[in-house]
Each structure stands twice: as C-alpha cells, then as structure tokens.
C-alpha cells in the first residue's frame, strides 16, 4: 500500500510537470509555427494562446474525471464520459440553437428567441444535463446500472434522430453540428477557462470524497450494499457529477474523442491505486493529453490547423488498440 501511495505521488508530480511544460509549449505554438518572441507577441499570447491552452487542459481534466467516474460506476473499462445520453443531448442543444436562427420549413421554431439568447455553449451544457436526466428518468433512477446503460443508448439514439431531422430541415445547422462533433479548442477564451476551472474546482473534490463508493463497488453490488452504502442514492450523486463534468467540457470544446476513455487507463497502467487518487490522477493525465493534442493540432501543419478532436481520436484509438493487443482486457478496474 505504501509503495502504491508513493507511486501515485510520483505520478502526480510527473503529470503536473508535463502539464506545465505543455502549457509553455502552448504559449509558444503560434499560428505561424513556433515563436518565442514573447515580448513582442504578448497581446496575442494573453488574449488567445494562454486561455486556449489553459482551457484545453481544464476540458481534458474534466473529461478525465468523468471517464474515471464512468468506468468506476459501471465497472467497465470501456465506459466513457459520453454514455447516458450527454453527447446526444448536447448535440441536440447545438442544433436547436443554430436552427432557431433560421427558418425551419418556412416557419420559425417556437421559442427561437429564447434559444438564441442562451447561446451555443449554454444550450450544449443544458442539453448534456437534459440527456442524462432523461436517461435517469427512463431507467427509474440509478438503482440498476444495466438499465441505466441501456437507457443511455435509447436516449442517445432518440435525441440523435431528432437532431438529424432538424439538420435536414435546416442545412445551416449541419456545419455547426459537424465542428461540434469534431471537437475544437480554437474558440476557448478567458470566459471558457473561468467556467471550466470553476466546474473542475467543484466537481473534483466532491468526486474524490465519494470515491469510496467506487472502491466498494469493485467488490460487487451485494458486498457494497452489505457495507451499509445507500447505493442508488450515491450512484445518482456520482452520475450527476459525471454529467456536470461532461456537460461543461462538451459545451466549451465539443465532443472531444477518447480523452475521457484513455486518461484513466493511462493512470491504471502506471500505478495501482484506489479510486480517490485515480480520479485526481485522471484529471491530471486527461488535462495533459488534451493540451498535448491541442499543441500538436496547432503546430503540425501550421499555419493551417487540425481539428483537435480528429487528432485525439486517431492517437487515442491507436493507444487503445495497443492496450487491447498487449493483454486481454481484464475485469480489474
């Protein structure tokens, strides 16, 4: 146990250092390639590169926490933050807002003005929370994990279909939805950093506090209940935290692929820890991963830019494949 804790401390140090180094890279990775003339470009760095880099780290950290929560809750190493309908809900929110600005089939959507006021990020956030709420409603609370998962699938399909229909009626919504699906860090400003930072600051300590539940769940439903834990209630609490993390990240940066799935795996490969440290370490590794992807996306074909979601999907996909080939996925999570 002692060595595990020591390992976790080491790893957190390394991951934090990686984050700082990448942050430095993020400040230097400009639109015309690398540039270190920081005095001359201070305006550019303060207004664009700094919030973008910090925002990418925060969004990655939130996805990491959310992914670790999902994998713990469902005791499934392939669970990711977008389960339970949050992705489809956020996507529908985005489409609704864009379509509300245009006429759909000759007539305006009801409540179009209100939606316009809400803005894309607000609608995506509420959509993600709405999707998860709908799933919870459908599954009758969080008592049965399997029903909850299936409910998430149903909600995902349903909300996705509504969004697709709206996109057919209002082609303008298509291009907005597409960039949302790809995920982008290019539009993150200081307001985004503030929102992401606050959500991370609130959810991470809470998640770590309730991590004992996830540890107990490793023993199985029955054992966890026999420990005196009110599982349905606690699970609901953790699902809400997960939805909050995912919703905030998705609203600001779109559906960034694989970061939430890979971050906890990365940690588990390096150290064996309980869920408390795992959540914190997943935040650190998720942040470092997305920031690294952002820096690469900016610099690899500068002055053009890759959509960061494409990059995380390719890198994350390859990494996961490697992981699966190395060893048959064991149930130990």
């Amino acid at each position: 146990m002692k060595t595990a804790v020591g390992g976790a401390a080491w790893l957190s140090g390394w991951l934090a250092l990686a984050g700082l180094v990448l942050l430095g890279c993020g400040l230097a990775a400009g639109s015309e390639g690398w540039s270190f003339a920081w005095g001359r470009e201070s305006g550019l760095i303060g207004a664009i590169r700094a919030p973008r880099s910090l925002g990418a780290w925060c969004a990655g950290a939130l996805l990491g926490v959310s992914g670790a929560l999902a994998q713990g809750l469902f005791r499934n190493p392939l669970a990711d933050p977008y389960l339970l309908g949050s992705a489809a809900g956020a996507g529908l929110g985005v489409v609704l807002v864009i379509a509300s600005g245009t006429a759909v089939a000759g007539s305006s959507l009801a409540g179009a003005d209100w939606l316009g006021q809400l803005g894309l990020t607000g609608a995506a956030f509420l959509g993600a929370l709405g999707g998860v709420s709908l799933t919870l409603l459908l599954a009758g609370g969080a008592a049965r994990p399997l029903v909850l998962l299936l409910g998430g699938v149903v909600v995902g399909v349903l909300l996705g279909a509504v969004a697709d229909l709206l996109m057919l009626l209002s082609p303008e919504a298509l291009r907005g939805k597409q960039i949302f699906l790809l995920g982008t860090t290019g539009l993150l400003g200081w307001e985004s950093v503030l929102v992401l930072g606050v959500v991370l600051g609130v959810t991470l300590p809470l998640a770590v506090r309730f991590a004992l539940v996830l540890d107990a769940l490793v023993l199985g439903e029955a054992s966890a209940s026999s420990l005196g834990l009110d599982l349905p209630k606690l699970r609901l609490m953790l699902v809400s935290l997960m939805a909050l993390c995912t919703g905030a990240a998705v609203a600001q940066a779109g559906l960034i692929a694989f970061v939430g799935l890979v971050a906890p795996h990365l940690v588990r490969r390096l150290v064996t820890v309980t869920h408390g440290p795992l959540l914190a370490l997943s935040a650190l590794s998720g942040g470092a991963l997305l920031l690294a992807a952002d820096v690469i996306a900016r610099s690899v074909i500068a002055p053009q830019e890759l959509p960061v979601g494409v990059l995380t999907a390719v890198v994350g996909g390859c990494y996961l494949m490697l992981l699966l080939r190395r060893r048959a996925v064991d149930a130990r999570v």
Binding site: L44, I48, R49, R52, A103, A105, G186, L187, E191, P307
Partner: protein
C-alpha cells in the same frame, strides 16, 4: 431588433426588390460624411465605425465577392477557405472554414472589420477579443441586396453599391429578355444536391428563376431548400431540370426518373463547377447567374409547342 426578423422571403420579389433599391439609393444620396457612422447588421446589432475599415477579413464567399465588387478588394487581408472569386483573393491567407476559423491567425492580421455569416459561434470569440464584427447572411435576393447596401455603408462606398445593384438589375433584365418565348412559364426543378435537395420558389435561386419568367415545381410553402422525396420530382414532371453537371448526367439512372419527359427530351442544364458556384452564391454575381441561366435556355433543344 425587428429589422433583422423582417427579412423573410416574399413571393412578390420584384416589389420588394424595387423598394429595397429605392431605400438603398436614398440612403446613399443622403450621405456624404466623414464623421463616425454606424450600420445595423443581420443580427440587429449596431456596429460603429470611426472611418472606413482598411484591413478587412471576410469569412463568407458571397461577402468576399461583394467587397471586391464594390472596388475594395485591396482592403482584404484574409478570407475563409471557400472564397475563390475574384482570382486575386486566392493569394490571401485562408483562415479556415465557417466554424473552424483560426482565431489566432485572424487576430494577428489585426483586421479593423471582420465580415461573417450570422450563424457562427466564432462571432462571440471574435467580439470578446475586441474585434469589430459585421454579421450578414444573404438568404434571399432582398437579403443579398441589403448586404450590398450595408457593405456599401461600411466601406463608405454607397455610390458604388447603388451602381452595383443597378448593374445587377440591368443584367437580370437583359437576361430575362433573352429567354426564348417558348420557355416562359415552363416549370423547372433546380437541384442543389443529390439527396435530393431542391431550390424552392422562396430561395434566392427560385426568386431569380421567377425573374426570368420560369415557374418552380417546388412551391414556397416547402421552404427555401427542402429535401424532397425523389418521387415528388417524378410526379411533378418538370419541363426543365437544372443541376450541377456531374449530378445531371446521372439523373436518368435514378429509379423511375427515366419517366421524366425533360430528361428524355434533353431539357436539362448541367452546369460546370464555376458556373454552379455563380448560381448558388447570393452575391454580386447574381446578374451573371441570370446570364448563365439564359444562355443555357437558349442552347436547349426547342420546346415542342404546347405540351400540357
């Protein structure tokens, strides 16, 4: 605020057009200023200018074309990646597409005005960086005309804007006169994409077809660019089909479409990509678009008398 909402397409296009034209030219004549001025864009937002912008970024092809048509091409410092007319803009930095705009590169160009479409998240980010953003999204002919008028004001070139609108009108009128009499009142199907999406009566393309004296098989009630059931096209049996060449060539192979008389009679206009671009962009080349349409109609096999 209501000003932005009023721009719904209307069937009586000609009336609306001449009204807008009158307004624009009145505004142009009344103005000879050097003082700060402001315009209202398609979001209904008032945007103020100290003087005419000298470093402009455009993020929509039709706006790029309009700036150039107003003689201010030299003020452009960057465009979106789809802007390709006139030739000279292809040398400018390409700052991404509609939604994946490269904010840093754009900001580094220090533009004093950014022209964008209304439906884009980028607007918020650009405004929070303190940039001056004018959002215009031409969807109908009246919108396109108003965009020309607004850009004329922004650039302090209202005289040029009026002249440009006059030129467009003259070209459309001339093109309408060249339409062979047999084709007047013919019912057309204009295909925008293979799905099939059509340009309905209420789209700017539909309005332009109307100005040339053609009828549309897709009524205004279906919206500007509806996705149709392919059967709808077969049943409505259009007299004339307009589409991009690559789509037009494969139409007869679609199930049931060989029954469409227009296809067997060769009453099909397949447009090359450049010509198609002109047709589907609601910008300053609308006059040219009318000519492209008239040219095609003149080149078709003769329409055999009263068919219906």
């Amino acid at each position: 605020m209501p000003a932005a909402r009023v721009r719904r397409r209307r069937p009586a296009a000609l009336v609306a057009l001449s009204l807008t034209l009158a307004l624009v030219s009145a505004a142009g004549a009344a103005r000879a200023r050097a003082a700060p001025y402001s315009i209202t864009d398609d979001r209904g937002v008032r945007v103020s200018f100290e003087r005419a912008p000298e470093r402009i970024v455009t993020l929509l092809p039709s706006l790029t074309e309009t700036v150039c048509a107003l003689g201010a091409c030299a003020t452009l410092v960057g465009t979106d990646r789809f802007s390709d007319w006139p030739e000279s803009v292809s040398e400018l930095p390409k700052l991404g597409g509609f939604e994946d705009v490269q904010v840093e590169r754009l900001y580094a160009l220090e533009p004093d005005a950014v022209l964008v479409a209304t439906s884009t998240r980028v607007i918020d980010r650009l405004e929070s960086l303190g940039l001056t953003v004018v959002a215009l999204e031409p969807r109908s002919l009246a919108d396109a005309r108003r965009a020309v008028g607004v850009l004329g004001e922004v650039l302090e070139r209202s005289g040029e804007a009026t002249a440009l609108l006059d030129r467009i009108d003259a070209r459309v009128r001339a093109a309408a006169e060249r339409v062979p009499p047999a084709w007047r009142g013919a019912r057309v199907y204009f295909e925008v994409s293979e799905s099939p999406h059509a340009a309905g009566e209420s789209s700017f393309i539909g309005e332009l077809l109307g100005l040339l004296g053609l009828d549309n098989v897709v009524p205004a009630s279906l919206g500007p660019f509806p996705k149709l059931n392919p059967e709808f096209v077969v049943r409505s049996d259009p007299d004339l089909i307009l589409a991009a060449r690559r789509n037009a060539e494969r139409m007869e192979a679609r199930p049931g479409w060989d029954e469409i008389g227009a296809l067997s009679r060769g009453h099909v206009c397949g447009f090359e990509e450049r010509a198609h671009d002109v047709l589907v962009r609601p910008g300053p080349r609308l006059g040219e678009a009318a000519e492209v349409l008239a040219d095609c109609l003149a080149s078709l096999p003769p329409r055999g008398g009263a068919e219906r």
